[in-house]
Symmetry: C2
Subunit: 198 residues, 2 copies
DNA sequence: CGGGTTTGGGACCAAAAAGTCAATAACTCA
DNA sequence: TGAGTTATTGACTTTTTGGTCCCAAACCCG
């Protein structure tokens, strides 16, 4: 090693997450990233290679932080009732909206964006979605109602919950009122796990 | 009127729909649009104003064709069972995926894209989403299971179905296998309307 | 047929895009 | 201390972006 890096690379990625999250892949211009990250052009290229590679790092970071947080919530053993874990996850989503955050979810935005057709990016996005679905499945396993279901039915329900999650976050981004989102979330969750037979 | 337009403007919009659908708003460059529409630069600007206005026309067209088609299916009086109408809509989505079409849904892609933060675009997207939700609500009204529900519950369920729809189409775009999508779709629909009590 | 008017085509433009590079600065190690 | 190595910087290049404009062509109406 010779001259040490002057910026913290993890911190720079965290800042890049914000920029891509807010503006999307195409919408995030180099100057936006440079401003947001507080580094110069050359430094970015030396440290990350190019824009796409930075984006991949950003998606991985989102996986490690945001997706991991959701997974943790859904598999939290301190809450024995899986149905409650699921309800809690959706509640936090609504809370974020109520606080005025309409950025949506980077994973969801990335999945819907045209960049997801790129093989590398698509792979990372798919992996995140799969992790979500597996976590939903784990929560279902720990729910009164679903744990007796055949495995296929559980998996189907888990994937359906992922779809609801993604859809809800996109409706949130599209400006749907928080109250309606909350009602929809309760319908999505409650229907399969709370309603009927108490 | 003097010299008549040489291209069909409706046809040109239809072609522009394909380009924006495939590449997204930012990703659709002028040359892409020009090629796809088969007209020259000057003609496009004369006929549509600028890129954003063309995009608005494209979204409206999508509303009139694709969204209207879904609404029609969901409110089709020739199928008395609303639950079946909903199931049929989701079936057609899966069919499209099975045919290899992974473009997703323009409305959904537009909602997730950063362009939706633009007031004009956001308005059109919201309107489409609302139309979908209303159509789902109409179908629920015509379903055995939901028609007895309180109005609020019906509306919540309708919004939840819109979320499932959007989420499913984005999972499809992200490359989720058709079989899993189908299972998830059946879970999303069947759960509330088919399962339990026949 | 000819003036008025609108379209078609594409050369042209300024701005912005991503990416490169060479000079300078800051460090390690001998 | 000085040689070697790596990071920082911002000017630079190339390509592409969305958008303008002018001229020729095609039409209507009188």
């Amino acid at each position: 090693m010779a001259r040490p890096r002057e910026f913290d690379i993890d911190d720079a990625i965290a800042k890049a997450v914000e920029v891509f999250w807010l503006r999307g892949y195409d919408g995030a211009a180099l100057p936006d990233l440079l401003d947001g990250m507080g580094i110069a052009r050359g430094s970015l290229y030396k440290a990350f290679g190019d824009k796409k590679q930075l984006y991949l790092r950003v998606l991985q970071r989102y996986d490690e932080v945001a997706v991991a947080g959701a997974v943790e919530l859904l598999t939290d053993p301190s809450e024995p009732d899986g149905a409650k874990r699921i309800a809690r996850l959706f509640d936090t989503v609504i809370d974020v909206v109520r606080e005025g955050d309409r950025k949506g979810c980077l994973m969801c935005n990335a999945a819907a964006g045209p960049a997801s057709e790129d093989a590398d990016i698509g792979r990372v996005v798919s992996r995140m979605l799969t992790r979500m679905t597996q976590a939903f499945a784990a929560a279902l396993q720990a729910s009164q109602r679903a744990q007796g279901w055949p495995l296929e039915a559980q998996e189907a329900e888990a994937e359906s919950l992922t779809a609801s999650y993604v859809g809800l976050r996109i409706l949130a981004k599209a400006g749907e009122p928080a109250d309606r989102l909350q009602a929809a979330a309760e319908a999505a969750v409650g229907k399969s796990l709370r309603s009927e037979k108490v």
